[in-house]
Symmetry: C2
Subunit: 453 residues, 2 copies
């Protein structure tokens, strides 16, 4: 249906009551529902009505001082996924969890459990937790170094995938008459004894429907790209410019090939905040309405965290000083800072202009327009190889996502770009990813599996 | 409704397809559903139909070699609770989680999240994880010492309850027009800096409906009792004998009073496996039917783990040798071993007899009889002060629980012993426990709360 047989993928990034930082002040949102699980179930069902591949929750392991200006995060994402799983049928469910501040046995088990609970729809967005404020909640006096976090993440992924593989697919026999529940020869200790982690296994949950939940990654630093190239099956990324996005996709696929992977199995989804209106003017007015609700003090707080320097001398209507983002920041990711530095280099905004620029989607691309114009952008990037799909960041929720589902998705479908029905039932099937075999699968098991009708 | 105004409490302990070790071989169970979340939702709804206070999942952080003989554990309990929460309305939801092998920030957040997701029905069964096999999954070469685990558990509880308190109840202002979401003065860093844990806080989830999820505990060692006396609001315990149960309850309440707590706020629930039949003979026949499905090799495996010694010289029809449980065991809890040693001392069974004795409910009390006879036992223990209620362990599920709900619960109600409707909507309300105030509540907040209509 899509050009060259490629399929377009859509993920709904669910963030609070919307990605615009002032969404909670918008009359169409209800921030009082942010601890009400039914709100999240409803948003997920909107995305499922649109036949999205997945919904996704970002995460951070600390509370920053934003609480005055911004609704606090919702329930913890893994528990939230479990609650959404049983209120949806087909849509994939991706949650963020940290390799730095969790134990691999617990994490492997919880994601395998969500995969069971959802019938094969779980995905794990792997993060290494860049914020120092998170380190303070886990016994540390400072943030572990960027490189050290990625070293642990590599070994962590190895342990988690071993645990997911520790039960072969046909380990359960279930012979009630003979009194044999499972074949112990097909349930494997992993005996991992590495530089940082020692885990014996096996996991205490049988292999999950997808074999392994889908691995997702969003880091764009050099090390983040290499890590994604080695492990990620879907990649979320912030890209402002078509050329940069093509270069990013080309680079990551090249790195994947260098790691011995088939680069065609990576799904790259840049973020896209779509502000939708019946006319371009109406869309832009909606965007302005949100921008005007943004609180400058909040924007400056965010900017200070991004720059890692004192901003008290800054005037809102003066240009952003060059070199503002050259400092040694501790509270945001390198790649995030590089993205904003690039916006400043390219557009030379005033401080107020930059705050407005970031208010829409924290540095992700914002497009305001008619459903046809949004679809044009999606089509252009997709056909140019800049994207396998998009991480849709509705400026306000659920209304902004409803507009996308009811107006942009049908337009994409009219152009033959997007599915008209779910063809599979697992997240792997939606993304067109293979189901991995267990690394412990015995030749016998393979023969038995092949011999099955 | 109950004698002296006391209320009887019932918890449904959900274990696999039943507590009898052969339940999975029984024709009325379906072990194939143990990874199907709908099975657990259905069992929870049966308990809710019976107006039980709560359902409960035990847990262990390893897989033992039992896999040949026993269905593996279900999805991880916290994710499972979230999925059950949204399929039930009123029943409390208790999951086990370890203070030894989790991070307090993650645990506090997940239980607060389940409390939000369920509208105030979460409880945490605190364990310190006694199995060496669990230690092997978390980087250790041996199990941490019993005392050291409890020292960590004490500090862990302190941190978790501080995190649950870190948002005052009225911290969220939600002033959209004024642009003030929350009052930062009512969201507190906890700045915990203890011997073992350092956690800054605050939690990144607002205070949950119960303030704090209910704290449950089941350890019966000396240290376990002291720990329960200091922290637990509900206590699950294995008691075979009325006199011992009264002594246990008296002892724990005395310790609670010594810790400065009101001993009347502890809810003590001994385990009870009820094998129910229309006649006593029918109930006993049902029990025998299950016992005959038990696999002696599995029983011996369990016994070996409990005794911590080689059993190869043991003959099934010889008496259990005295001193079998004097060894230095590493794979089961001290109190569990003491319980079984006491059964041996009292009943002097053969090895086969002991295996049968343990097959029903792993050392918990098994009563076979008519609904009236089961109700008699419950009434006797309740009125004697041996129990505030019972941890009902159906020998097979969901059938065994359905019999209890449909026949024993109505009999308890006829006797005026059990509720005829849920009076509250939170687990705390079901158990008659107070809702704790935040330790950080400011005098102003208290005044404001008092001044509310």
């Amino acid at each position: 249906m899509a050009p060259e047989g490629r399929a377009l993928h859509l993920n709904a990034f669910i963030q609070g009551v919307g990605h615009h930082e002032a969404a909670w002040r918008h009359p169409e949102t209800d921030p009082g529902r942010l601890t009400d699980v039914r709100y999240f179930q409803e948003v997920a069902r909107v995305a499922e009505r649109g036949l999205f591949d997945s919904v996704f929750f970002a995460d951070a392991l600390s509370l920053t001082e934003d609480v005055r200006y911004q609704p606090v995060r919702r329930p913890e994402p893994v528990t939230l996924l479990a609650a959404i799983a049983v209120a949806t049928e087909r849509i994939g469910l991706i949650a963020t969890a940290s390799t730095t501040f969790t134990e691999p046995y617990n994490l492997a088990r919880q994601f395998a459990s969500v995969d069971h609970i959802s019938g094969g729809r779980a995905g794990w967005n792997i993060v290494t937790s860049s914020a120092t404020s998170a380190a303070y909640n886990f016994g540390l006096r400072e943030q572990p170094a960027h490189h050290d976090r990625y070293v642990r993440a590599d070994e962590f992924i190895e342990v988690v995938t071993k645990l997911w593989d520790s039960w072969e697919d046909d380990a359960i026999i279930g012979d009630r008459a003979g009194g044999v529940y499972a074949d112990p020869g097909k349930v494997h200790a992993i005996d991992h004894d590495g530089p940082l982690l020692r885990v014996r296994g096996p996991l205490n949950v049988p292999r999950s429907p997808q074999g392994r939940p889908v691995l997702v990654q969003a880091g764009s630093s050099e090390e983040g790209r290499d890590f994604a190239a080695r492990h990620a099956e879907a990649i979320f990324t912030a890209q402002q410019d078509l050329g940069d996005a093509i270069a990013f996709a080309t680079d990551v696929r090249r790195r994947a090939a260098a790691s011995g992977r088939d680069p065609g199995t990576l799904r790259i989804l840049p973020g896209l905040s779509a502000v939708i209106g019946d006319t371009e003017e109406a869309a832009q007015a909606r965007g302005r309405e949100l921008d005007e609700l943004a609180i400058p003090d909040y924007g400056l707080l965010q900017l200070r965290r991004l720059a890692g320097v004192d901003l008290s001398g800054l005037r809102l209507d003066a240009p952003v000083p060059p070199g503002l983002f050259n400092g040694d920041d501790v509270e945001s990711s390198k790649s995030r800072r590089a993205l904003v530095a690039e916006i400043v280099r390219r557009e030379r905004p005033t401080v107020r202009g930059l705050l407005r620029r970031l208010a829409g989607a924290r540095g992700h691309r914002v497009v305001a327009g008619t459903p046809e114009q949004i679809a044009d952008q999606i089509q252009t990037w997709f056909e140019a190889g800049a994207a396998d799909g998009f991480n849709i960041m509705a400026p306000y929720l659920p209304g902004g996502l409803e507009l996308f589902v009811d107006h942009v998705v049908p337009e994409l479908r009219r152009r033959g770009l997007f599915r008209t029905a779910y063809e599979g039932s697992t997240l792997r099937e939606h993304y067109g990813l293979p189901r991995p075999a267990s690394r412990y699968a015995t030749p016998d098991a393979t023969l038995n599996a092949a011999a099955r009708p």
